[in-house]
């Protein structure tokens, strides 16, 4: 799933929400508001409503705006030797699948609307699956990409678990590229920066052509998606918490990314 969007609203119109995970993060539940307690008591349900349902609703429109791969992702995929076995976790419409047709990638996404698009890219394969319950054997894959996915998980624990789940699929030599929206993006039209609220709702405006409108129907619908904006160093912290090793890390166009692998102390099946 994608981070940057031509349809996201300018700064100021982004709604700030209470981080659903605050009571778990700081161990001080007395600070939590009712909203926080509701969302942290069932983060999966919260994400179902504020991420997955939205992507299913906007799937065709979203997919028609997704075609340009980010350079870091392209380079990573092109560097995999022919016959490598990989995963694209949270593949959305599968826009990275055409980059290297000499490897075999199993792409997964929770959105049945988006996975239909992803399934059209040969020689790869597409399935509906959850990042935190992947149906793959452990320790098998040469590489994995997880692009613009972990920022949709609404608690710190679930973000760490996602990184652990990705590392779990990798062989000892395997490498994963993880990419998420950055808090520090002062040059973007959204204007977030260091110190801004990290848990936000970002609008997606879907416009309908006049001729497709029913009588009295509004020509645009706004959907709100939940994002956790990663601050500098936060993704590396997630990798270390999962006992992974950061091989390379950087910043590319409003996003933080890491290439990571299993560390010496990595444990399969561990609860983080």
């Amino acid at each position: 799933m994608e981070a940057t969007s031509p349809n996201t609203a300018p700064p100021g119109s982004t709604n700030t929400i209470q981080p659903p995970s605050i009571s778990q993060q700081d161990g001080n539940p007395s600070n939590s508001s009712t909203i926080q307690q509701e969302s942290s008591s069932n983060p999966a349900q919260y994400e179902e409503q504020h991420v997955h349902t939205v992507y299913n609703e906007i799937a065709p429109h979203f997919s028609s705006t997704r075609y340009k791969p980010w350079p870091i992702v392209k380079t990573f995929l092109q560097s995999q030797p022919p016959g490598s076995l990989g995963l694209d976790i949270g593949c959305g419409n599968g826009k990275y699948l055409p980059i290297n047709p000499s490897v075999f990638i199993i792409a997964s996404d929770r959105s049945s609307g988006l996975i239909k698009f992803a399934s059209q890219h040969q020689p790869h394969s597409a399935i509906i699956a959850d990042t935190l319950a992947l149906p793959h054997p452990r320790g098998k894959f040469d590489f994995a990409i997880c692009i613009a996915v972990v920022h949709h998980l609404s608690t710190a624990k679930r973000r760490r678990q996602a990184v652990h789940a990705i590392l779990e699929t990798l062989s000892g030599k395997g490498k994963a590229l993880i990419y998420a929206w950055a808090l520090e993006q002062r040059d973007s039209r959204r204007g977030w920066d260091e110190g801004s609220e990290q848990d936000v709702m970002v609008p997606w405006v879907m416009k309908k052509a006049k001729r497709d409108l029913a009588e009295g129907e509004k020509n645009e619908t706004t959907f709100q998606r939940y994002y956790h904006l990663y601050r500098k160093g936060e993704m590396e912290e997630n990798v270390e918490a999962a006992r992974g090793v950061v091989v390379e890390a950087g910043y590319e166009k409003d996003n933080w990314w890491v290439i990571c692998s299993r560390g010496k102390g990595f444990e399969e099946g561990k609860e983080l």
Binding site: G83, L85, F104, P123, D130, A133, F141
Partner: protein, 127 residues
């Protein structure tokens, strides 16, 4: 859902991951279709050592194909025998499960395949 893909899938239930019974998932009441996919001998030759051959054999039989040879072909076999390469390409990449279920032999959970796409989202009680 390609036959090759089944070799890299297991049950999504965490407790099943450590049991050998959860792999491979067992195809049940599956309808097959055939796609035309451009052959890529290098991809297949390099990928073959990663394929669990006995698991592939049991899946092939469950889907109604004849038994495979007891051992996987070597890169030399594949290079010298274009028919063997073509057959493997057809079985692994072109044969698709369009409808049916994949069953975990450990917990019994059935994952549905619809319009060629398998759904591994778990019901709440299994998460």
């Amino acid at each position: 859902m390609k036959v090759l893909t089944l070799n890299f899938l297991t049950c999504a239930v965490k407790a099943c991951k450590t049991t050998s019974a959860s792999f491979p998932l067992v195809p049940k009441e599956c309808e097959l279709v055939s796609d035309t996919i451009a052959p890529n001998p290098t991809l297949l030759t390099n990928l073959l050592p990663r394929v669990d051959w006995p698991a592939l054999g049991s899946i092939a039989v469950a889907l109604g194909f004849p038994s495979l040879s007891p051992l996987p072909p070597t890169p030399a076999d594949l290079e010298n025998d274009t028919k063997m390469m073509a057959d493997l390409h057809t079985l692994l990449l072109e044969t698709q499960i369009s409808e049916g279920s994949l069953v975990c032999a450990n917990c019994g959970h059935e994952y549905k395949v619809k319009e060629g796409i398998a759904n591994f989202l778990l019901p709440n009680h299994l998460v």
